[in-house]
């Protein structure tokens, strides 16, 4: 059956602003997303079942195949996968964690992903308009993840890719709050230039 993306209704053109090398902001809907809670040993079991290593430190991530593991807290791990994988990944976690002192929740449908990419300085400045974390490249290098805020909206941040003066950041946000976050990002990005491809 047909799926509807949370921000499908949004008028994107009105939020754009011209520039030679603008920032690019798009929604990546339907990403498979599980939250695992529990002691580090249980998080490691969950990660291993998904074919991933447990990120050692809070704020780190690991990747393998199409999956990524984001360590958002001492007892908080997020496992991401391509859209459409929730049944498979759910079964894997169910099998691994059954009767273990841990929790897992499928949040695939609860949130959506906003992907911001462009010149490194502009992308970081745009994020800093709403996020209170230290986003300097030395404090928030590529690969860093965090549970934080954009404006007053809780978001999960991930510096996905970087290098050569460019940055790709993803913000995962509750679906009904995604429009507020996207509009705020667009206001913040206006001075750097922004396009929102369909």
């Amino acid at each position: 059956m047909a799926r509807t993306a949370p921000l499908a209704r949004l008028d994107r053109r009105a939020l754009e602003s011209p520039a030679a090398d603008p920032l690019i902001l798009r929604e990546l809907p339907f990403r498979t997303r599980f939250l695992v809670r529990g002691p580090a040993a249980e998080l490691a079991v969950a990660a291993a079942a998904a074919g991933l290593a447990l990120p050692e430190r809070v704020g780190d991530r690991t990747a393998g195949g199409t999956r990524r593991a984001l360590r958002l807290g001492p007892d908080r791990l997020v496992i991401l996968d391509e859209p459409g994988s929730e049944t498979a990944l759910g079964a894997v976690l169910e099998a691994a964690l059954v009767d273990r002192p841990a929790a897992w929740v499928d949040l695939t449908e609860a949130m959506t992903t906003l992907r911001l990419e462009g010149p490194d300085a502009a992308a970081r400045a745009t994020l800093a308009e709403g996020c209170p974390l230290d986003l300097h490249p030395s404090a928030f290098p590529t690969g860093t993840v965090a549970a934080s805020l954009y404006g007053r909206i809780p978001v999960w941040l991930e510096a996905v890719e970087g290098g050569a003066g460019r940055l790709v950041v993803e913000l995962q946000v509750d679906r009904s709050l995604a429009e507020q976050t996207l509009r705020h990002l667009a206001l913040a990005a206006r001075e750097h230039g922004l396009v929102l491809p369909d």
Binding site: M1, T4, P29, L107, E109, G130, P132, R175, S176, Q180
Partner: protein, 1004 residues
């Protein structure tokens, strides 16, 4: 257009770019690089305002944020209007239109000036003494009249078209102030590799050094300008140093959280619509260096407020930066050496200096330089008054005796168009005090200086009392080294540059010349903006206000928008002297943020209009919209009120929707109800403590309605607990209570019972919820849902089952908030619209009817189901609501012990009842107060209030729920509901359930 007071050369303005602007409709011209103040002065305009209370003529007197007089309304285009803008900080842009304030009909002819002659009748606090009776007249007459006479500009009346942003920033070192000390400190820290943020409120860095002219100190063997250029060049090359100009440090909170206001757009000659107007920086630095400089003090003498009286340092700045001599015939009155530099620079620019008066018998070497340059230096003299009507025409000068008393017999009147005054300097310690630093009176500087600073906050330069540039730079170097060491960074070893500057003799504070202002205390102003004079201070002291804070509030000294930046210390010293104390015994009044006024736009940031708060829409929003829903706000959510057809009113639509649910099947969007996932080996233990009902016996696959109480026993929220697995539950909450209940659970799990292995995750947005309710609900669902047996025996009331709609996995809860057979179909959010359409497509013969909140409220009211926030208000317990059956006696739960208190069991506690109006058509208003039955007009104590009411289509009459005094709550008793605009409504108490009390329909 000529600018009579503009020199042909010099200054840092662009003469090739003339800029047209207006003052009160009059066309004027300045240059790119001007401020509004410098452009007005270049045009010879002195009179720019009328004073707050006495409507005295006032002019520009400073060149910076301390300006008390030159407050103007500034318009930069439609909707872009700011009242009370300090002309000294407004940069000139094409089309700028300034208007003077507090005058009528014009600045030159202000009828309000009568107030100045009436000042004897308008002392401090006059309105408290004069207008307190007759009662009521104050609000209607006196206050509006006084507000019209006194006051500042008018608030803008149009929406602000500009955008404002808030930026978070982090750094190792925040340097506040871009004067020589701040720049040097930033350079040293930057060279050491630190991340440095430096802010300065002026358009160009350099501080006093950039504003001094030919007599600026030399640095490193060359001119100051060359040194500045070198430092700025190197700072620009350091990648981790950020220099923000036009950026005012408004607040430094304890723990070093700093708020900086950057003026991004106002000064741009070519506007860039992509830029925000202002940006509020929220900085969390690891260390802070305050190099905030100092503010010059005016002298205190009768008529010290005339347009044409300038701070000497401001006169230097207007000449150096804007090539504007503030006068042609100048007198200088000072008790400090630096005013001699002003005189020398003005004289070098061709201005006639008629006299330099200085009561000190032995001024410093600069005075001898002035003498050598042929300027008339009168040591042992001072200014005793001024003459003029709308501006300065002459200064009165007199020699002083050894006791600093002026010798009246020898007073001279010297015609002049500008009087430069300097009474020494006040270090700017505001931010340090805001951050929790301690200040101490330093007699040598006659000022409060930093005595103790919070952790990793330091003060250097003039703000720390440095009297010379060499001292300021040495302080900056020392402070940076110490701060970097505290941060564990490399410690820079850099010698301060050699400074070539004259020695300075100690200055004399303005209040030392008491005999001068005593000649007419009613015209010796200690607060130019609030029109407070020395006489007002004396009055306050006479009336027994001795504490500085009391004097401040009684006289309003220092309470204007400039917060007494220029004369504040003088006022404090007068209070000290008047009460026979040393200023060291007094504390300065509290320095509070912000340092200068800032607009609401900057504070609001993006939080306005659509972004004021999030607008949350459910996954079924477009589906409901397409079916004609009218929406209302519930918390941040948009929810359908009803689905009126063409020409149908909301009330008729809701009644139709109610009938559909009672007789057929209705479908509502219940997605906003909170859903919380609770898992873990101790999940059951945890929830048993939270919920009032027994959950231990709840089988997997079953649901139970329960209450959550606050620890005082009042109802916090209600909802359904569903057992998904042995260690896995899902809770439902009210829409508005979702976040509150989640926080409540986390609080107990995290802070009180950390030993419980339980994890709580809000999953509200994971599922969209279609409430399918009515006698035909099962029939409809059978057509859409597979993999589940919907028969009553297999799927009883208060149970849940997994199922499918096509290929979509869904979860069905058999629950009802309508009293009918009902299911709540939980659909993965992205499939919701599609599944809803499927339901309607498959059941046209059953006529499924979308229903909204209004119908939902009527349906639950008919059943007497409570709605948290309607039947509860934070003071209501389950006992009040008649829900004692939901209180487990088998276990403990939060709030249980409180319910045992006698207070909660008093017979006159409120009690939930039903109300049947005797007139079937009169719906008692919710919130209506219950009064005793009878014929008299309603009076006496309230016996309770209506909590919900409606006209019930099923009963064909008005019904209501109410909280009534418990001892009166027996069925059949008659009461009345007082209505605001009609006769009281007679009602009869009934059981709080009007329909199917046995629940047969529910279990069908």
């Amino acid at each position: 257009m000529s600018q009579p007071f503009r020199l042909a050369t010099g200054g840092r303005i662009d003469r090739a770019r003339p800029i047209a602007f207006r003052l009160d409709g009059r066309s004027l011209q300045g240059f790119a690089g001007d401020t509004l103040a410098s452009a007005l002065l270049a045009n010879g305009i002195r009179l720019v305002a009328r004073s707050f209370k006495r409507h005295r003529p006032r002019g520009i007197c400073s060149c910076g944020p301390e300006e008390p007089n030159a407050l103007l309304g500034v318009e930069r285009g439609p909707g872009r209007f700011d009242p009370n803008s300090r002309a000294t900080l407004v940069e000139l842009v094409p089309g700028l239109a300034a208007t003077s304030q507090n005058r009528w009909p014009s600045l030159r002819h202000d009828l309000g000036a009568i107030m100045d002659r009436a000042h004897a009748f308008l002392p401090a606090g006059f309105y408290y003494k004069t207008f307190f009776r007759p009662q009521g007249v104050w609000e209607r007459l006196f206050e509006p009249a006084i507000r019209r006479m006194a006051g500042l500009g008018r608030a803008p009346d149009r929406p602000d078209p500009d955008r404002y942003l808030h930026r978070h920033a982090h750094c190792d070192l925040l340097v506040v102030g871009g004067g020589p000390a701040g720049l040097f400190a930033a350079l040293l820290a930057g060279r050491a590799g630190a991340r440095v943020l430096l802010c300065d409120e002026q358009p160009e860095p350099g501080g006093g050094l950039a504003l001094a002219g030919g007599r600026a100190p030399g640095l490193d063997g060359g001119p100051a300008a060359a040194w500045l250029a070198r430092i700025l060049g190197e700072l620009a090359r350091l990648p981790e140093v950020t220099l923000l100009t036009r950026t005012t440090a408004q607040a430094l909170h304890p723990s070093r959280h700093a708020l900086l206001l950057e003026r991004v757009a106002d000064h741009r000659l070519e506007p860039d619509p992509r830029l925000p107007r202002e940006r509020l920086w929220k900085v969390r630095p690891r260390a802070v260096l305050l190099a905030t400089g100092r503010i010059e003090r005016p002298l205190l003498f009768p008529d010290n407020d005339r347009p044409g009286i300038f701070l000497a340092g401001a006169a230097r700045a207007y000449l150096a930066r804007f090539a504007v001599p503030v006068g042609r015939e100048v007198v200088v009155a000072t008790t400090d050496d630096l005013a001699y530099a002003a005189a020398l620079e003005l004289a070098a620019a061709g201005v006639r200096v008629h006299a330099i008066v200085d009561p000190r018998p032995e001024p410093g070497p600069l005075a001898r330089l002035a003498e050598a340059a042929g300027l008339p230096v009168l040591s042992g003299w001072t200014v005793t008054g001024s003459d003029g009507r709308l501006g300065l025409a002459a200064a009165r000068l007199a020699p002083v005796g050894p006791d600093l008393r002026p010798i009246a017999a020898r007073e001279r009147t010297v015609p002049c168009d500008a009087l430069l005054v300097s009474g020494g300097w006040t270090p700017s310690v505001h931010l340090l005090a805001q951050a929790g630093g301690r200040l101490a009176w330093e007699p040598e500087c006659a000022a409060f200086l930093p005595a103790a600073a919070p952790e990793r906050v330091a003060v250097a330069g003039a703000a720390a009392g440095a009297g010379t540039l060499a001292e300021a730079l040495a302080q900056a170097a020392g402070a940076v080294a110490a701060l970097l060491q505290e941060l564990g960074a490399a410690r820079p070893h850099e010698p301060a540059p050699a400074v070539d500057e004259p020695a300075r003799a100690p200055s004399l504070p303005p209040w030392a010349l008491e005999a001068v202002w005593r000649r007419d205390p009613t015209a010796a102003f200690v607060d130019l903006q609030n029109d407070v004079t020395a006489a007002d201070l004396e009055l306050a002291l006479r009336e027994g206000f001795h504490a500085v804070e009391h004097v401040k509030r009684y006289t309003t000294v220092g309470m204007a928008t400039d917060q007494g930046k220029t004369l504040g210390p003088t006022a404090l010293a007068l209070v000290a002297a008047g009460t026979g104390r040393d200023p060291a015994e007094l504390a300065p009044t509290t320095f509070r943020p912000p340092w200068t006024p800032l607009g609401f736009g900057a504070l609001a940031g993006v939080a306005r209009g659509d972004l004021f708060r999030p607008i949350r829409r459910t996954p079924l929003h477009e589906w409901a919209e397409a079916r004609g829903a009218v929406f209302e706000d519930v918390g941040n959510w948009k929810r359908p009120t009803a689905f009126p057809g063409p020409g149908e009113s909301l009330a008729r639509a809701a009644a139709r929707e109610c009938r559909a649910v009672r007789t057929g099947v209705g479908v509502a969007d219940a997605s906003t109800l909170g859903k919380i996932d609770v898992q873990g080996p101790d999940a059951l233990t945890f929830l048993e403590r939270i919920y009032t009902v027994d959950l231990a016996g709840l089988a997997v696959g079953r649901c139970r309605y329960g209450l959550v109480l606050a620890d005082d026993g009042t109802l916090l929220d209600d909802g359904v607990v569903s057992r998904l697995g042995p260690c896995h539950f899902q809770l439902s909450t009210t829409t508005g209570g979702a976040a509150r209940t989640h926080a409540w659970l986390e609080r107990w799990a995290q802070t009180e019972w950390p030993e419980l292995r339980v994890w709580i995750t809000p999953v509200t947005e994971r599922w969209a919820v279609l409430a399918v309710q009515g006698p035909k609900a099962r029939q409809l669902l059978r057509r859409a849902v597979s993999d589940v047996d919907l028969a009553a025996r297999a799927f009883p009331h208060m149970a849940w089952r997994d199922a499918r709609v096509g290929s979509v996995p869904v979860r069905l809860f058999r629950v009802s908030f309508t009293g009918e057979l009902g299911f709540e179909l939980n659909v993965p959010s992205s499939h919701a619209a599609d599944v809803a359409e499927t339901l309607f497509r498959l059941g046209p013969d059953l006529q499924p009817t979308p229903y909204g909140l209004e119908a939902m409220h009527v349906l639950r009211l008919e059943k007497g189901y409570i709605l948290v926030g309607h039947e509860t208000d934070g003071s209501i317990t389950p006992l009040d609501l008649g829900l004692g059956r939901l209180l487990s006696t088998r276990k403990g739960f939060l709030g249980r012990r409180s319910l045992l208190l006698p207070e909660h069991r008093r017979p006159d506690r409120p009690r939930l009842v039903g109300l049947l109006p005797l007139d079937r058509e009169r719906v008692p208003p919710p919130g209506g107060q219950l009064v005793a039955d009878g014929k008299d007009p309603p009076s006496g104590p309230s016996l309770g209030h209506v909590t919900s009411s409606a006209r019930s289509p099923a009963l064909d009459r008005a019904i209501a729920l109410a909280l009534v005094r418990g001892d009166l709550a027996e069925p059949g008793r008659r009461l009345r509901v007082a209505a605001a605009d009609s006769e009281p409504i007679p009602v009869e108490i009934a059981a709080p359930c009007f329909l199917d009390p046995e629940g047969a329909r529910l279990r069908g």
